[in-house]
Amino acid sequence: MSSSAAEAGRTQGAAEAGRTEDATGGATAGATAGATGEHQGGSWRRLHPVTPVLRSWRVLVVLLALYGQQRGTDAVTGGGADLPGHLELLIALGVLVGAAVLSVAVSALAWRMTRYQVDAEAVRLHTGVLFRQQRSARLDRLQAVDVVQPLLARLLGFAELRLEVAGGSGSDVRLAYLREADAQRLRNELLARSAGLAYEGEEAPEAVDRTVLEVPLPRLLGSLALSGGAIVLVVFLVALAVTAVVADAQVLLLGAGPAVLGAAAGVWTSFTRSASWRVAVAGDGVRLRHGLLETRTQTVPPGRVQAVRLTQPLLWRRQGWWKLQVNVAGYGGGGAGTGGQDPSLLVPVATRAEAEEVLALVVPALLAAPEGTGSLFADVERGLEGAGEDGGWLAAPRRARWLDPVGWRRHGVLVTEHALLVRRGRLTRQLDVVPHERTQSLGLVQGPLQRRLGLATVATHSTPGPVAPTAAHLDAGSAAALLEEQARRARTARATAGPERWMEVPTARVDT
């Protein structure tokens, strides 16, 4: 603790801290920032001072919930301390205030030790009171920039900036909290620098975006009503009501409470997450904006989408709706640390035409097919709804029906000029699209039954995420040939792929 106290004493103000750091570590950073004409590029900045308060209100909520639960149990069991009402209230209030002060103090200490710096090459973030961490994320490896606004922060006009770099889970750089306008400005600056874009003036221009699609509320509600969770919920409730009325067993109703609440919470979460979903395209990438309570603006620069999956559950078929998911390195498989949000979701529900438009947006190479867009969408259409070998698809042979009697006709793969299309599923239809230059590695798998039937499964390995393109039960010989051909295609596609800094002109480099 003594060293951190000394550190705190030394960094009396942000300006002094900036000078100290510049003298030691930021010398080269300052030089490059000067070259690009950025006024504060090399200096160390702090997060907004309101951060400790915004961060610690959760502690209060948890404490309040615990207290409420305890009171509830006491009321039911008739137990609890025999204290007069007002004294108990006083103690509870005291504990609450104490916890609030403590958690704000701890957060304030953490805030004091947190500084960040942006220059032409990287974002650097220093954090930690006892265990110091200095993280540096290279801007040319930036995979996505998210601006997240939890409800309270949003009401007060603050936002969190998350920079995703491809380093597995927990590798993102989180700047929480900044003023909303500052967060936007920083995002524009990072994206412009990541693009290798030279700009005039002190501020990076905000890329103008064009709205491609907005998911209407009725469609979203419809898609949720036709989702698995909602149907399970309804069936469960009906069954419960019937048993309760017929058998007069209200205990059953009480026992199922948590399960019903869980399912309802799931549907509610999907709703708040997907409400007012908007997809736009800008010079710095595809931009998603969504959320009812907690809003999130995601920007995925061009060429960062590793794979796309289109899914249509059976119940959505009448409406012709599709769900789109993407693999972006750094987003990972969702789950832990994402706060219940799945950043890999591209569109929660889209019509066929919208799905195709968004697909062409995130895999722009698809549009560059020499035959023109007509044949491309014919390919995609066969991938979405077709079966068998029409249109040059390599499909599972008839003998695959022994292994997959329902869906064997749908297993198939098509190699186009720029991407690999993999389709599967007869009830829940799926189509995966992987640009050739994004293929990580390839696998061929064969089990004992497949071997007897002369079949094999081809898998394309993508970065962690919801999309795992696998073409099952293909003819073994064709599968091996496909593996060879795909390895070759991926190689040549990589050789001609664009630069990591997508706006940079190779002859006119702006950095030193």
Partner: protein
């Protein structure tokens, strides 16, 4: 035609010492229950203890024999632009890892491995799905492969 025998590919086998390492790893989970069952048979009597021990022993023996075949089925091949790796007899897999997609290479060896003089080389790409580990390499070959892969990866370096 066998899909897993690609034309013009010379597969390099791994060291037979891997068989010993795997059998040693097998010895404990087989021996402990057998000894336990035999002891129970002596103490309480009854043929079923002995039958159980016999079944367990037979299963262990089968696994013992199987290791030899499984290790013979592991092979790798360095091609100009990618590394091929195959494994398995009943469930067979073949993985193609392009050098340019490689993020880093691990060489690891446990105490038994070191005693026997073998090591495992594992290639990591940005994908969690590409399981490209080559077990049972003699240390010299492991070091050579590591350096060669790193060098080839660098000359074909690409982003994600």
């Amino acid at each position: 035609m066998d899909a897993f025998d690609l034309p013009d590919v010379a597969w390099t086998p791994v060291s037979p010492r891997l068989v010993t390492a795997r059998r040693l790893a097998l010895a404990l989970p087989v021996a402990v229950p057998v000894v336990g069952l035999v002891v129970l048979g002596v103490v309480f009597g009854g043929w079923w203890w002995w039958a159980g021990a016999l079944v367990w022993l037979a299963w262990g023996a089968w696994l013992w024999v199987l290791q030899g075949r499984q290790v013979r089925a592991v092979g790798y091949a360095e091609r100009e632009d990618d590394l091929l790796l195959r494994k398995g007899i009943v469930f067979r897999t073949l993985v193609v890892v392009p050098y340019g997609r490689m993020q880093y290479v691990d060489v690891s060896a446990g105490p038994v491995d070191r005693w026997l003089g073998i090591a495992t080389v594992q290639l990591h790409t940005a994908s969690a799905g590409s399981d490209a580990s080559i077990p049972g390499l003699v240390p010299e070959e492991a070091a050579r492969l590591r350096d060669r892969l790193a060098q080839r990866g660098e000359s074909r370096l690409a982003g994600l």
